[in-house]
Point group: C2
């Protein structure tokens, strides 16, 4: 197979700089900060001790300067949204801590920043930032996780006392799975249907105190403990039920809608649906953080599995007197290296996403904001599924050793498992992406439900989704310069693009058949098509982000190596979906086989660099504690070989 150059060595520092990217300064500072604080994962503890330790660690983090990144300068923050996302990603070795930090500063603090106004900022933000005021983000209800627009908690305005009455009408409306609720939270951002003068204005957020300074729940507030979970047991999730709890009118986070003392409702945005989705849009940071953290957890798992695979030997290799290093087996490379390539691809796509989030902040550019939300939804789904699959594969690749708690993979698996569910169920998120692709991002953002898209598409043409992205101009250039084989980057890019167009066109045609009566049936029979449209779109965006990153790389050998890794991402993605490409005659059977051959050959060529490649991500060293990845296995192999070779056996 005529494979392009794979360099014998590359410049690790160059690669690390490229990976650190725009927020390299934040990554460096967090690495330094973490080197100075011990933050061991507490999953060996019982639930209560684990929670207590996580809270202590959160206080250490509060003092580290890290949380300030995400807060406005007016309260002593540094207003660096991108930096705040990147800093949270740096905690993959203690995911309970990461999630608790995300709840306190990202969701709870972020909601007060984004949905509140000056009166809330002045009164609360500093205490939230310092953790003097621990809080909750109470959106999800027992009966409504994905369909948040239809949650059932009510906040009814009473003009007589100028108060809102917050109430849980029945068990399904109970706030469910609320982080920080079972033990530590004192104030909650509560999402509820706002009712005034007998009329509902849709979902709004209010600040509702839930505990006093002694940790006792307040009158009318019932808090239950969600109990033990598969992982993340350092986070105290709870259920909250409100029984006619009264809060002052000013408790409403009133940036997008307010109630005057006499009960008159006012909002700059007409339409309850659009208003709520505008609010949700301002909270997108949490979803982006989950995608980033899924990425770091994947990197940590791969570093453990690759270091072990590079030391562990099994079965004698004839003629050498030695046993074969397991990472030399094609099957082992196949398990880990395409996953490594995809991890690189997602890393660069995530960097672009965080940049957009950072640059777009308060720009008022609604179209770009919708695009950001769609991309965030898609990348979150793809990154978290990739994490679940890859960490599982790493566990298996480490055999029984991977099952021992000391080797970290068990906890990484258990902790990240819920990432595919929280901050938006992945399946629901992909539907959101598909809807975005089928509409022109105008003012149609009214519904999260699956049927939303059927209504929008009915009279619409599929929009040109191939917009200017950081990679697009490069793509055109690259497409014209390579050779005509499976390593041809231009061919790869066109293949991804063509697939996306075809899938979308077909979907639009199917959904246009919907009339009023059969909308559900039409949507439902095409649901697999809907999910595919979203997936192939994201895969194309991710490939483009990787291509753009290779082009940014200045060192020739490093760029050449990244080029091969990018080939591996592109071709293993094609291989996994070759059923579709063949079915639609986009590749010939012969080329399809060549793709598989190329993936095998790329694995072989990249294998010598695998450990250096994963190390270049520069995860803080305190997170790598697995004995199998930090020398124990290598030492054991040396002893065994010395013994096997000794004259007296």
């Amino acid at each position: 197979m005529d494979i392009p150059t794979t360099p014998a060595r590359f410049d690790s520092a160059e690669l690390s700089e490229l990976l650190d990217g725009r927020w390299a300064h934040v990554r460096s500072r967090v690495r330094e900060a973490l080197a100075g604080i011990e933050l061991p994962d507490g999953s060996d503890l019982d639930t209560e001790s684990h929670r207590a330790r996580t809270l202590e660690q959160l206080h250490l983090l509060a003092k580290s300067g890290i949380p300030e990144l995400g807060f406005p300068e007016s309260c002593g923050g540094r207003q660096d949204i991108g930096g705040s996302v990147v800093s949270l990603e740096m905690l993959p070795g203690n995911l309970s801590l990461m999630v608790k930090a995300g709840v306190q500063w990202g969701l709870f603090g972020g909601a007060v920043v984004a949905l509140g106004t000056e009166r809330h900022h002045e009164r609360y933000l500093r205490d939230i930032m310092t953790l003097d005021l621990p809080g909750c983000f109470a959106m999800t209800e027992t009966g409504h996780g994905s369909d948040v627009q239809n949650l059932r908690t009510t906040a009814t305005y009473d003009p007589a006392t100028e108060e809102f009455v917050v109430h849980t009408p029945h068990e399904s409306a109970r706030k469910e799975y609320i982080g920080n609720a079972a033990r530590d939270g004192r104030l909650a951002v509560v999402f509820a249907q706002l009712v005034t003068g007998g009329k509902s204005h849709g979902v709004h957020a209010l600040l509702v105190p839930v505990r006093d300074a002694n940790g006792e729940s307040l009158p009318g507030v019932r808090i239950e403990d969600c109990g033990r979970k598969a992982g993340l047991n350092g986070v105290d999730n709870g259920r909250i039920t409100f029984d006619q709890v009264r809060v002052p009118r000013e408790a409403l986070l009133n940036r997008y809608g307010d109630v005057e003392p006499d009960g008159t409702y006012r909002s700059p945005i007409a339409g309850a649906g659009k208003r709520f989705f505008t609010m949700l849009g301002t909270l997108i940071r949490g979803r982006i953080s989950v995608a980033g953290t899924a990425g770091s957890a994947t990197k940590l798992a791969l570093e453990i599995a690759l270091r072990y695979g590079d030391a562990r030997r099994q079965f004698e290799r004839p003629g050498t007197g030695d046993e074969t290093v397991v990472l030399d087996y094609l099957a082992h490379q196949r398990k880990l290296l395409p996953a490594l390539a995809k991890t690189f691809a997602l890393h660069f796509a995530q960097e672009e996403l965080v940049s957009t989030l950072h640059d777009l902040r308060d720009s008022g550019d609604e179209r770009r904001q919708r695009e950001l939300e769609s991309r965030a939804a898609g990348l979150k789904a793809v990154s978290t599924w990739h994490a679940t699959r890859t960490i599982q594969t790493c566990r298996e690749a480490c055999g029984g050793a991977g099952y021992l708690a000391e080797n970290q993979l068990a906890q990484l698996k258990a902790d990240t498992d819920v990432f595919t569910t929280f901050e938006g169920d992945n399946t629901v998120l992909l539907q959101l992406v598909a809807k975005g692709l089928l509409t022109n991002y105008k003012d149609h953002v009214d519904e999260l439900g699956p049927l939303g898209m059927v209504r929008f598409v009915a009279d619409q043409v599929v929009e040109a989704v191939f917009e200017r992205t950081p990679a697009r101009s490069l793509v055109r250039r690259v497409a014209d310069t390579r050779r005509d084989d499976v390593f041809d980057r231009g061919w790869q890019l066109e293949l991804f693009e063509d697939r996306e167009k075809h899938v979308l066109d077909g979907l639009a045609r199917r959904l246009r058949r919907a009339t009023g009566d059969n909308a559900f049936e039409v949507f439902n029979s095409a649901q697999d098509h809907v999910l595919r449209a979203a997936t192939v779109h994201i895969e194309r965006r991710v490939l483009e982000a990787f291509v753009a990153a290779v082009e940014r790389c200045r060192d020739r050998d490093t760029a050449a190596l990244l080029d091969r890794l990018c080939d591996l991402y592109a071709l293993s993605t094609v291989e996994a979906d070759r059923g579709w490409f063949l079915e639609h005659e986009r590749i010939s059977p012969r080329r399809s086989k060549a793709v598989t051959e190329a993936v095998n050959e790329l694995c072989r060529r990249l294998r010598p660099h695998a450990v250096d490649l994963v190390a270049a991500f520069g995860l803080p060293r305190q997170w790598l504690t697995a004995p199998i990845a930090t020398g124990a296995e290598a030492a054991r192999q040396r002893t065994q070989r010395a013994h096997d070779r000794a004259p007296e056996r």
Copy 2:
């Protein structure tokens, strides 16, 4: 789509009887026995309490009569090997207990039965059966998990004292991950290289006492605790190191090899390799039990997810005023129903496997024994990967509720995760299957290592692997009677068969290129092909087992429903591998799309029966405790709907 009949209802009792199969009487008795003993899973406990509870439960099980099934009549057992495998499968709700039972009675007791002779049977079996003598099965070493033939522990015969000296020469040779070792085991079956008169005779098993009656480790025996694991924490895994430990000559389990007082070695089997693999073959029951237990755990997870999916609603369904039941969504059906179909298929394949094991016992039919071992290896790999994937999917399908410990999926995931590794790493097992397919099952069973197969295939022709199986004659008949579309069972069967032949032929051709020097490279570059050959073989066998079961079903509607489920297994398997079928022009692009359409349609038709189908497996009711699957969700939905419809909201 012209889909064959799917009946409106079916006879659950009929289906249950078919599923209970040959050991229906054992299943009934175990269900009754378990109804009388509470055996709650202890994963909410700390490690020590969990282990203590599991031991107590094991004593309850010892008294239940269940362990007797697997022991010879001579010691009070019932000599029902098949029944003993089936009975262990019935414990999916407490997998620590199942695994500890498997260690004590299956591995430890099983090794004494199979490898020992009368002197061992008389002295030990009764106490093993009653659990008066808890023991260990000490095969795996830290440095050699898969390549057991090359383990490093030695048992050197000393004619002066007529003793064996059991010794661990270095850390890699330490016995690793030994169940029952960290806390409870008193006697161990230890596998070691037997050396007498300066000559090694390969791996043999000896009985070595490791603890006294007070639980203290004996002189020369060092036992360490493996510590916390991802799951199965009720099982006390440990590491054992021997420092020149002496045991009498009679401690050797001498059925396949013995040492006379003067040190002369004698064995009925020439060749250390063949001898060891004959010994391993007698221990196959453990691997078969793991496949069966993986199946039950999958059934339990599916029952939870299907019951929840049948109650849970999300997003309003226009025109109905109700929300949509989540199992009505195609995407949800796609997650769960093909997995359910495969679970049925594997259930029937497992039943055939257990039958062969039972009937073959001590028959001396070496060829059938090799086939059994190969099939056991393949089904274990396929069943445990299916369990890992399906339980993960069930967790995700239950959203956040699936992540709560109370809903069981977390524990099922964690406990079953290691099934893909223990009792043979799945990747290594599939290589074993491929090797079996490439040789003619003669006396070539000499090596477990990957290169073994290269050597065997060099001068051999691929054997006709399509032997007489319980399904084969039916297959021929069925192949002639159906219509020519994707639902044509004959077409499906031929497609599976043709794929297997083609993959095997190609593999044999590739491996024949090996010469002495390049054997590793030739094998390694074809390793993905090797694994595929094994997989497609097992998939064909599994389909045939399902087809045979449908033919056994006497009730017309039940058979028709099973027929559709069998279609779903066949067609979703084709769909998942349509890349291969298209690449090799076994199906046209158009037929490939028809397969996907058929899978969607089958999901829609089978959906109304999903809960009844999974319930027909008849898992003991004490294992189903998840609130989301036992009424809580349904009750909540009723309350919410009543409230939503009340005039005053």
